[in-house]
């Protein structure tokens, strides 16, 4: 329990610290928001008025405090590019990104764990799995994206080359290739750790003993090996899913999917800093919440961890 409280308060502290670092960093970034709002021919009085209205001359801590209190009430500022509330930009894009992450996460968990178990259990399959994993870890998502687009969208024409689609099924169809590209690296990572965990567990004495007593291999694997190997697999999967969220930056840009990842990259390019602050903080929050959940679940599932605290 103490460890859970520690993990949660640590997560909150991390989020607050991250929000300050992001805000302070972007406040010294190049680009003049006043010129963006008023255009180049504004008078000095108008510029001074807008500066005062935006609070640009206040000290950093005061501006941060203003931003934080407003953000907590759901006011994340305005986008200079879209001329719209940032909060309004996030909603529909968040839905797309969450769907993409959910699809990629299912692929990572199902394929990654299956390949890992196969590699851990079947001795002869091990080199094949090891080779697949080495290759999978090394293929960056943006390289995989080009390959998938070239083969499955352009040559075969099975999937669209661009965009996120409308409606549930159309969206799913549009997001299939992006989800595959996103899941390769983390899928290989989960397969690697699963394979190692299963292999280690299968080599233990009790497994040999059970085998000697004539218990069928399938039952040993299902009832004992997999259950005992589950914890490291769970940890790896959680970290992988957390990593998928920041992976959307690259994959959404590669496939022209208008989720929050692509929004962040475009906002950095167009120096639209209210959007950059909001989206990057959102990604940090998701990431920190995921990793904290892993920590807490680990303690809940493993009596040894509980006893150790």
């Amino acid at each position: 329990m103490r460890r859970t409280i520690g993990a949660v308060s640590g997560a909150l502290a991390t989020i607050v610290a991250a929000s300050f670092v992001i805000y302070a960093g972007l406040s010294v970034a190049p680009g003049d928001p006043v010129a963006r709002i008023l255009g180049p021919r504004a008078t000095d009085e108008a510029r001074a008025a807008v500066r005062a209205q935006l609070g640009l001359d206040d000290p950093l801590l005061e501006r941060y405090w203003h931003w934080l209190t407003a953000a907590l009430q759901g006011d994340l500022g305005r986008s200079l590019t879209y001329r719209q509330e940032v909060a309004g930009l996030l909603g529909p894009r968040l839905e797309t990104t969450l769907m993409l992450v959910a699809m990629a996460a299912s692929l990572v968990l199902v394929v990654g764990v299956a390949v890992g178990v196969a590699g851990g259990v079947a001795r002869r399959g091990r080199p094949v799995v090891a080779g697949l994993v080495a290759l999978g870890v090394a293929v960056p998502s943006f390289v995989a994206a080009n390959l998938l687009i070239g083969v499955f969208a352009v040559q075969l024409g099975w999937f669209p080359t661009y965009g996120a689609g409308d409606g549930f099924w159309d969206k799913m169809w549009h997001l299939t290739l992006p989800a595959v590209a996103l899941s390769i690296g983390y899928g290989a990572y989960v397969a690697q750790l699963t394979s190692a965990a299963v292999e280690e567990e299968s080599g233990k004495e009790y497994v040999e003993t059970s085998r000697g007593r004539g218990i069928p291999a399938g039952i040993i694997v299902r009832r004992h090996v997999l259950r005992n190997a589950a914890l490291p697999v769970l940890t790896a999967s959680g970290l992988a899913v957390a990593g998928l969220v920041s992976g959307t930056l690259i994959v959404e840009q590669a496939f022209g999917v208008d989720g929050i990842g692509a929004l962040l990259v475009q906002s950095v390019s167009s120096k639209d800093y209210d959007v950059v602050t909001a989206v990057s903080l959102l990604i940090v929050i998701v990431f920190v919440v995921m990793t904290t959940m892993i920590d807490v679940v680990q303690v809940a599932l493993d009596p040894r961890e509980r006893a150790g605290t």
């Binding site: 290759l135 293929v139 390289v143 080009n146 690259i250 590669a254």
Partner: protein
């Protein structure tokens, strides 16, 4: 350096690993290519030739041309240097930061060590690509923004492996003798602890280089790192992306393959160098 190599190589090679030789040869060859590549280009890397645009591989252009008629082989060779220089600096920065932090925390132990550990845990929780993108927002897109950001993000990975060895060395008798002999902690750290952690540092740096290369190329792919028309592998993948729709796959294929082969070579070499000590 020579001392460290002589310690690393025989142990791994003694295990009779052809993987070590193959990955070492591949990594060495690619590094050589990055150094001399820009001088080997058959054409100017940014010379356009509209009449020869989007050609497949042929006698004139061995790997074909891109949509502006630039020779892809030349761009790949010329781009190798920037593609390697970025991650090499990332690894150097993270190795220096990580080792300094690890030696400092291992030396002092106690609450300093615990505080450093907490700091590392927080830093582990930060997604690298996000920091690199934000760094480009603050410092402007280019070479240095992603390099500095990734150097910082990778430091905890270096610190973790170095600390594990440094803590063990710290409590050896020779360190105490040197201390009693009046040698300053800084000198002991640099002259005696550092050479002992060097082999594991080298393995981790090799492993990290592959990942850093992929991340650096990713930032350029997003348009926030190296800027076109400069040749760099991530930039080439991005340019190849729009050519795909016209059925021209050569640029994506060449740049993508180079990235994947390099990452595999350095990953495998790093794992081999670390083999037996993890």
């Amino acid at each position: 350096m020579a001392l460290a190599w002589s310690r690393v190589v025989p142990r791994a090679a003694g295990a009779g690993s052809p993987l070590l030789l193959v990955s070492g040869a591949a990594a060495g060859l690619l590094t050589l290519l990055a150094v001399v590549g820009p001088w080997l280009t058959p054409y100017e890397a940014d010379a356009t030739d509209v009449l020869a645009a989007s050609q497949g591989p042929g006698a004139q252009h061995w790997l074909g041309t891109d949509s502006l008629g630039r020779d892809i082989l030349s761009r790949a060779l010329a781009g190798a240097r920037l593609s390697f220089a970025g991650p090499a600096l990332v690894v150097l920065i993270s190795a220096v930061l990580g080792t300094a932090l690890a030696l400092f925390s291992a030396w002092h132990g106690g609450w300093v060590d615990r505080a450093c550990n907490r700091l590392l845990n927080v830093m582990f929780a930060v997604p690298g690509i996000l920091v690199a993108v934000l760094s480009s927002a603050v410092f402007g897109a280019g070479f240095w923004a992603p390099v500095l950001a990734l150097g910082l993000v990778y430091a905890p990975y270096m610190a973790r492996v170095v600390r594990s060895v440094a803590v063990r060395e710290r409590h050896r008798g020779y360190v105490e003798s040197l201390q009693l002999a009046g040698m300053s902690p800084l000198r002991i750290g640099l002259r005696h602890l550092l050479p002992n952690v060097f082999p594991i540092l080298l393995a981790q740096a090799t492993y990290g280089f592959g990942t850093a290369l992929a991340d650096f190329a990713a930032v350029s792919f997003l348009g926030l790192g190296i800027q076109p028309p400069e040749a760099e592998w991530g930039v080439m993948v991005a340019e190849g992306r729009s050519e795909l729709l016209d059925g021209a796959v050569q640029q994506s294929l060449v740049a993508g393959t180079l990235i994947v082969v390099t990452v595999v070579a350095f990953n495998v070499l790093g794992a081999q160098l670390a083999g037996g000590r993890r």
